[in-house]
């Protein structure tokens, strides 16, 4: 199996994996970064969202070869201790139910707020429609994003 050099959460790491493996399984099974979740494997549910060069991207269909030389950030790299304003807003608003999709939600919300510091409801709906929550926490997600937008000013 070929060897790849990756930059994940500001660390340089080497992995031996099949050349067609998606980034998701490298993160989860090789690097033990299990905050990034498998939900559908076909790029539709968004549970596997990470940042590639600071932009939200789904990792379940992203081949490892497309990630070499890029800066990969997972939920574990967002903050050590949950202190990122978006994570903090998620706690304040008590967003999660089962919690399975929430890392994907948070990574997507962080990207939204980086690009659009004061999103409208329509902009929030548009960005967050990329991530499915089976429990239905959408209203709390929206409230948490608005709260985070205030603290990030």
């Amino acid at each position: 199996m070929p060897t790849y050099q990756l930059e994940v959460n500001n660390k340089s790491l080497t992995v031996n994996v099949p050349s067609d493996i998606p980034l998701l399984w490298v993160l989860r099974d090789e690097l033990n970064l299990t905050g990034t979740k498998y939900g559908c494997g076909v790029g539709t549910c968004g549970s596997c969202t990470v940042h590639i060069n600071n932009t939200a991207q789904k990792s379940c269909m992203l081949p490892i070869t497309a990630c070499v030389g890029k800066k990969i950030t997972t939920i574990e790299g967002l903050s050590e201790d949950g202190s990122h304003p978006v994570q903090q807003a998620w706690i304040d608003v008590n967003v999660p139910q089962c919690g399975y999709c929430q890392c994907g939600q948070i990574m997507t919300a962080v990207d939204l707020l980086n690009q659009t510091p004061n999103p409208t409801d329509a902009e929030i709906d548009d960005a967050m429609s990329q991530v499915v929550c089976r429990c239905g926490t959408y209203y709390r997600i929206k409230n948490a994003i608005k709260k985070a937008a205030l603290t990030m000013k």
């Binding site: 299990t34 979740k37 494997g41 949950g82 706690i91 008590n94 089962c98 399975y100 929430q102 089976r134």
Partner: protein, 611 residues
Amino acid sequence: MQRRNFIKIASLSSGGWLLAQIMPFKSLANTSEATCFQPSPLIKLCDDGKIYIYVVKQESGQGVQTSLPLILAEELEADTKDIIIEALPFNASKGGQYGTGGSTSVMTQYMPLRKAGATAREMLITAAANEWRVATSQCRAEKSKVVDTVTGKEFTYAKLYAKASTLEVPKNPTLKNYKDFKLIGKQGQKKTNIKNIVTGKYNFGIDIKLPGMLYGAVVRCPVLEGKVNNWDATSIKDIDGIIKLVEMKEMGINNRNGVGIIATNRWSAIKAANQLKVNWDLGKHENATSKNYSLALKKLLDTKPDLVIDEKGKSAELLPINSNSKVITADYELPFLAHAPMEPVNCIAQFKDGKFEIWGGFQSPGSVSNGCSKFFGLKNTDVFINLQPMGGGFGRKLSADYGGEAMQLATFADGKPVQLLFTRADDMKFGVFRPASAHRLQTEFDNMGMPTNWLHKIAIAPVMDFQGKKGAIANLQGDLGGGSDNDMYYNIPTLRAAGNRIDAPLAEGWWRAVNFTYNNFVIESFIDEIAFAQKKDPLAYRLALLEKKEVTNISGAKYTPQRLATVLKEAAELINWNKKRPTGTAVGIACCFYNHAMAYTAHAFEVTVKN
């Protein structure tokens, strides 16, 4: 998750925990040298100040790791910062009400947990009062301490455990007055483990990785009850890391025959499952299609029912329709539905020294050990289950199929743990589905235009066909509930629910809210139809049907229609029901008395049609 944390669980009385033997013992956790006192199987009080509260109900996002400990902590008067909440593993030899479903966890655990907390509190107060030689009435518990209200002296709980553990256990501890509640019913409680969730550190079953773990996938027969003829191993010869291909067998737990794949890594297992060529004997359901099944269901609505029950849940005859009266009839059809929890079902199994140890999220771990052990010629006590929180359940994880499949794979893995994962495609194709059903609703009217001689006919493959004796007429009984008959929440004087059964070409299981998901939908839809026909406002029509003060339903539960009316009115007010709306915009309202959880519910929507 570690076996060493497994605390001996006492047997159960109806609905509650019996108190365990009272004796202080060294904590089983080898990380702590604390001496602990366990006045109930659900609480362990340690002299290092830590208070462990154990949760046997399974967390799937509904919040039992938050709500259940909170109920206990309320009575215990513990400082919440001292509390450590832990899930327990499962073994059939220990018993315990682990089964989690039907929206009943808080309802059934509320009093037992309050009693457990109050028992410990009273024993601690008695221990302190004895030390001070004062009356217990002079002492009060707060924030993990007992205080003498006259002298102001106090003992921390930790200092009282040794003494408290020698006392007799009070049989009927005094519960707190709800007016004094500090936790129950108070806003602002944070979800247990929320910080771990938002930092990605919260481990679901899928996140567990054990040393030497292998990865499993299963290629299942596309048709229920079909069999494997053979497979072509050369079709996956270009994939690295494949260790074994094995035949997977039906175990009577709604799993399918198929071919198991064991690999060194997950990606190879998934790829091989997509690529493997298998030759199937598809069996008797080979030609089943959605279209044919739908036609068969609808045809049954025109035939004599297999079972008729009246509003008391008793066997009955269909009433003849009065040919002089106006009758309204409507037919409805609902599809099979997958549960689709965000975390697809998965399980790690290890088979060593003739016993299984498994790791995964299960709503009913007892069904795994009872349902799977016989297949391997083992006892149910030979299966030890390390239970993990679930990324959603919705009833899917009541089924033992994925546990059984992981166990089969493990028997071929030379003692190594194997993690089986259903891909999302597997999850959608090989679930235990909410049954498809066809419904006919029909009613006559009294001289006030209100329904009477109401008939709800349902054609369905009962879920119980897949949980018990297949084909029994009595299996239909469950599908006639869910608001359709003996638990009907509207005051309709004469009711009949009639059922026709059919064999399903897919495995079925309980889906969130069970029979309410289909019956409540058609009843509420039909109420709108008949209100429209009577030229009445659908809200006012519903309220007129909810005027009775109290009804005792067939299960003995008291139900108050007026509470449902109150909820309905509240929903109407929130949506501004009477507001004049432009053409193309409309509002709808519906309600339900969900008797599994004694919950009164209503919702209202405003919908706009564009273009």
